[in-house]
Symmetry: C2
Subunit: 273 residues, 2 copies
């Protein structure tokens, strides 16, 4: 962070804090910043690329990528494009992968920058080539274009921003060692389903497991392999709460069973209150 | 382009050309590359930014922006973020604005890179501040954070890519002189509406005005202030066609009237065939 201040320099008023929990909550577990970064990269295939233009100006462009098992993204770009020529001259660069904010606040949605050095894989591209073509099978058609090359990013530095107040830096070893969340592809749909059809279960979770026995309302803000983030309404105001699953979900289609078990546990605990 | 090849180096097979028109078509008009660039920038408010990190690596990140009347984007970033510190040290950089590809081919969707030099507006930010806050009214809340600054990009170089085979470079004067398409905000909805409810009118346009008297099917691929891009099905294969409006649409809500007039003209011409 090289001498940067560690928090905003507040000149004006500070917003009020949310109401605190009224009951103790169990041990929490969240995706680590490295897991967040791996998950974002693994669940997308379009990113923005920063390379260095010939005149020394950092050059932003859009590229497609595939993800290798190790977490390295693989581009397939042409020297007809400026970014392709830039990489030939200066292989250091970065990509940023951003989640779709939909109609929400773009500053409160997740993005991750991976910086390092791009290198060409040897021979026909091997695993790098396979990773790109798994994401973009149609890219095989460009194999006939001699101006296209695969480029693998050797990740040296990672900066993840999950939204307001959720951010961290990750080193290369931490990034490469982490696993992407296998449930990421099902999460948006699962959250919408919970909010549409199971708001009673979400309130029970907030009351019995989330530390808010005075909850009158609860919405699923986010769901991941470790648990559910809630926004809880109480007579004291609105607060965030977290309810963890009994065990991390390991399969892409495992969110449903884990959520059903969580709702059952919440109702049992609520009944014994 | 500094010695770059002018087209793909084709090693493999070339795909077959689409069937040519069978009738002469009227004078076409399309958005210029400068207008495409201005339109993309004016109709979005989130972009990726390329700055130069302290270690010399080009750094990609996500930022919000507002658009000034002149076409210059205005960022509002914190020195707590790496890109904010990068701009303090090296004000040269670029942004890329990309249209949402939805479920479509991301390489066939539009994006534009604006490169140049970021400068801080004087005083309280004036018109630059107003442009950013018009796009993000909530950003006014950060005015209490002393680590935030407005940065205006003085555009020096523009690279627009509309999709496969649609791309061009634009100089600063051309970019600044062009106007954004006022109908851009309504275009996606208008295209969907035409395809859902007026496919007969689209076929009539392709037959009578688009040069494809053997059209059996037509879909609106894109609509803009100057006309409609069609994908036309014929017994000879599928081809792109363009049907221009009688005059450029000047108002954000003017696509409907222009399309109705075009459909009427197509039916009249078809009746006299």
């Amino acid at each position: 962070m090289s001498g940067a201040p560690m928090d905003h320099v507040v000149v004006g008023e500070v917003p009020p804090a949310p109401p605190p929990p009224l009951a103790a909550v169990g041990a929490d577990r969240r995706r680590t910043p490295a897991e967040e970064a791996r998950t974002l990269v693994a669940s997308h295939r379009v990113c923005s690329l920063a390379t260095l233009a010939e005149d020394g100006v950092p050059w932003a462009s859009v590229v497609t990528y595939g993800s290798m098992q190790c977490g390295s993204p693989v581009l397939y770009v042409s020297t007809l494009a400026e970014h392709g020529r830039n990489l030939e001259r200066e292989p250091r660069g970065s990509i940023v992968v951003a989640e779709d904010a939909g109609g929400g606040d773009p500053l409160d949605s997740a993005r991750v920058t991976l910086a390092g050095r791009f290198r060409r894989p040897e021979g026909d591209g091997g695993a790098a080539r396979e990773a790109h073509l798994a994401a973009f099978p149609t890219a095989a058609a460009y194999a006939g274009f001699g101006d296209f090359s695969f480029w693998v990013l050797s990740v040296e530095r990672v900066r993840w921003v999950g939204g307001y107040g959720r951010m961290d830096s990750v080193d290369a070893a931490g990034y490469l060692a982490a696993a992407p969340d296998p449930t990421a592809g099902a999460a948006v749909h699962a959250a919408a389903h919970l909010n549409e059809d199971h708001s009673d279960a979400l309130v029970a979770m907030a009351i019995a497991l989330g530390g808010y026995p005075d909850a009158t309302d609860a919405r699923c803000v986010r769901i991941d392999r470790y648990g559910i983030d809630l926004r809880v309404g109480t007579p004291r105001g609105t607060a965030p709460a977290r309810v963890p699953f009994a065990a991390p979900v390991a399969a892409p289609d495992g969110l449903r069973a884990a959520t059903v078990e969580l709702a059952r546990r919440a109702r049992e605990a609520q009944a014994s209150l």
